[in-house]
Symmetry: none
Subunit: 188 residues, 4 copies
Amino acid sequence: MTEDSAKQRILRAAEALFAESGFEATPTSRIAERAGVPKGLVHYYFRRKSDLLAALVAELPDARIEPAVVVVPGDLAGSLRGLVVELDRRFNRSLALSHLLWREADTHRAVRDALADRFQQLVRQVQAVIVAATGGKIAAADVDSASGLLARALSHRHATARHNDDEEDPAQIEREVLFIAEALTRGQ
Amino acid sequence: MTEDSAKQRILRAAEALFAESGFEATPTSRIAERAGVPKGLVHYYFRRKSDLLAALVAELPDARIEPAVVVVPGDLAGSLRGLVVELDRRFNRSLALSHLLWREADTHRAVRDALADRFQQLVRQVQAVIVAATGGKIAAADVDSASGLLARALSHRHATARHNDDEEDPAQIEREVLFIAEALTRGQ
Amino acid sequence: MTEDSAKQRILRAAEALFAESGFEATPTSRIAERAGVPKGLVHYYFRRKSDLLAALVAELPDARIEPAVVVVPGDLAGSLRGLVVELDRRFNRSLALSHLLWREADTHRAVRDALADRFQQLVRQVQAVIVAATGGKIAAADVDSASGLLARALSHRHATARHNDDEEDPAQIEREVLFIAEALTRGQ
Amino acid sequence: MTEDSAKQRILRAAEALFAESGFEATPTSRIAERAGVPKGLVHYYFRRKSDLLAALVAELPDARIEPAVVVVPGDLAGSLRGLVVELDRRFNRSLALSHLLWREADTHRAVRDALADRFQQLVRQVQAVIVAATGGKIAAADVDSASGLLARALSHRHATARHNDDEEDPAQIEREVLFIAEALTRGQ
DNA sequence: AATGAATGAGACTTCATTCAT
DNA sequence: AATGAATGAAGTCTCATTCAT
């Protein structure tokens, strides 16, 4: 399944090393070393070092989740929790990737744009789930605020994934989801 | 106020360039150039390049705000808005700084720790304002969720300050604050 | 025989320059220049400057001479002279090398150890020749004193090879050898 | 007695550090540090770094020993032993100095000349003692060989003082002195 | 297709020396 | 007389990239 071609091994090594030390601080020679390939091969497949970053961006998984998959009509809290679980599942493999792209967004426009896109996608995803789970009875302004807050919280969590090695209460996000769900529905 | 000593000029140049291109990608020679000082002087004041980063970390403004300054008893929304405004005012000068430290947190433990500290400080700050503005009548769990959410949203906004060239809707955070305030108080 | 590869040219240039000016005072750039290779190539073959020294140490010729080659049974003076001549012949090419290693022994343990080894080898060599030439009839204490003295004299001569520009009397060592030989045998 | 002026402290620090790491590898800043004086003062007293070396050379103790002090007429072995003991006593304080000058002789002519002088002085000293102790009855050629050998052995011992930290049998030189004395007198 | 030798620009850093005070 | 801030030349070493094979 996961190809073990030399090219793939190079990409995986680059991903790991960029995540560990950052793009600039990672020599291509070390990528070759970690991938177990001759130094020349890295530049044979990826002429410039930045091509490696471009290839990693292209690998970002799609965040588009079919609302039907996670929505339980009438149960907003459950639906949002389902969304979070599904997102985590899908991004879990690429947490390091998310984080490293985050870091390099400043200096590489392609990376920056890809991340901005993904954040917008995330916001709309949350909105869609809220609307679908509540039958569209919530005021648009509240839907926007809630989805903005939740998207930010999720994004922040991914971006800082590497910082907080240990800490970070795993139930924390759960409670925040519940808080938002109740805030949105209590008024009804 | 803002000293114009050579040392200060070096620090400001480093801050700007690190923010633009990242720590690794910024040569000390360019820092000297931008500061208008000879190359040797940079290393005279900051032996190692990383000492520049350490000096910038030490400059981070204190996020501790006296609750009394922003709290309007009975008006939670107003109080939180006041807090956000005050924080923005205080951090405005150092937005670039926040962002660059955020970027370099992975590879420099001192930076990572300073940022983690500041995030905790932020969470407690929000908690304190909520409690003070509502007279402590809100359930602890809700206070935690709300302050976690808001702290993350604020932190995320600072961290991404540089990404969204096309500026963010300034009213967005305002609406999110209101949403949280209402969520906390509507139940009362 | 003497390879003319770039690597060899670098080593020869390093040897000559270290001998002329010492290890610390010789820039790698000058080594490259003298060897007629680009600056980068020096560090391609020898990552650190000290690796050049290590490579030179490894080149030291073996001082182990088969006693049979120089010993004339019954003729101690002739045997010792034969040993000296053979040693000189063998070390002649590396006189500069001996001298520079001598200089750098303080600061580079590998060099120091190599030289200490070689001195011990030299002492045993002289002992072996004395014993073989005299049929083992000399008192052990005298053999030790004589070989210690001669080894030191030889070693001193190599070590100071570069100091005495105004060459040393070449017959001097010859006479000293004779003196020792007679001292050992006169008593018999 | 031993002045503790700043200038003296600088010289002592330079001596120690040059001995430890060599002239080139010792920064003047470290000399100042070890001497406990401000950096500027080193260059105030010794404008160039090499002036420090020159000052150290000028400090070399005189090796000229009045033969009468050590000679016991008729006892050559005792006389030579007396000479060695007296030389050791006198040079003991400056062993490190001898050694470091020896090291730097290649690159600093003034140092080289001073050392060559001292070696000649040493040879003549040994000759004088031999002649005085034996009443001048030894053949000139033998006196030359013997004094050459002994001077070299002594010089070698000083030059290598720092190499052989531990080893080096202290009775070794004693036995070698005895060996030479007997060689010279046995024939009589 | 694949490789590793080779290159040279440029990074960080050290340091002797000067100079204003 | 004494100091430490300031300078810039030069040193070691790293690295992306090219190229011949």
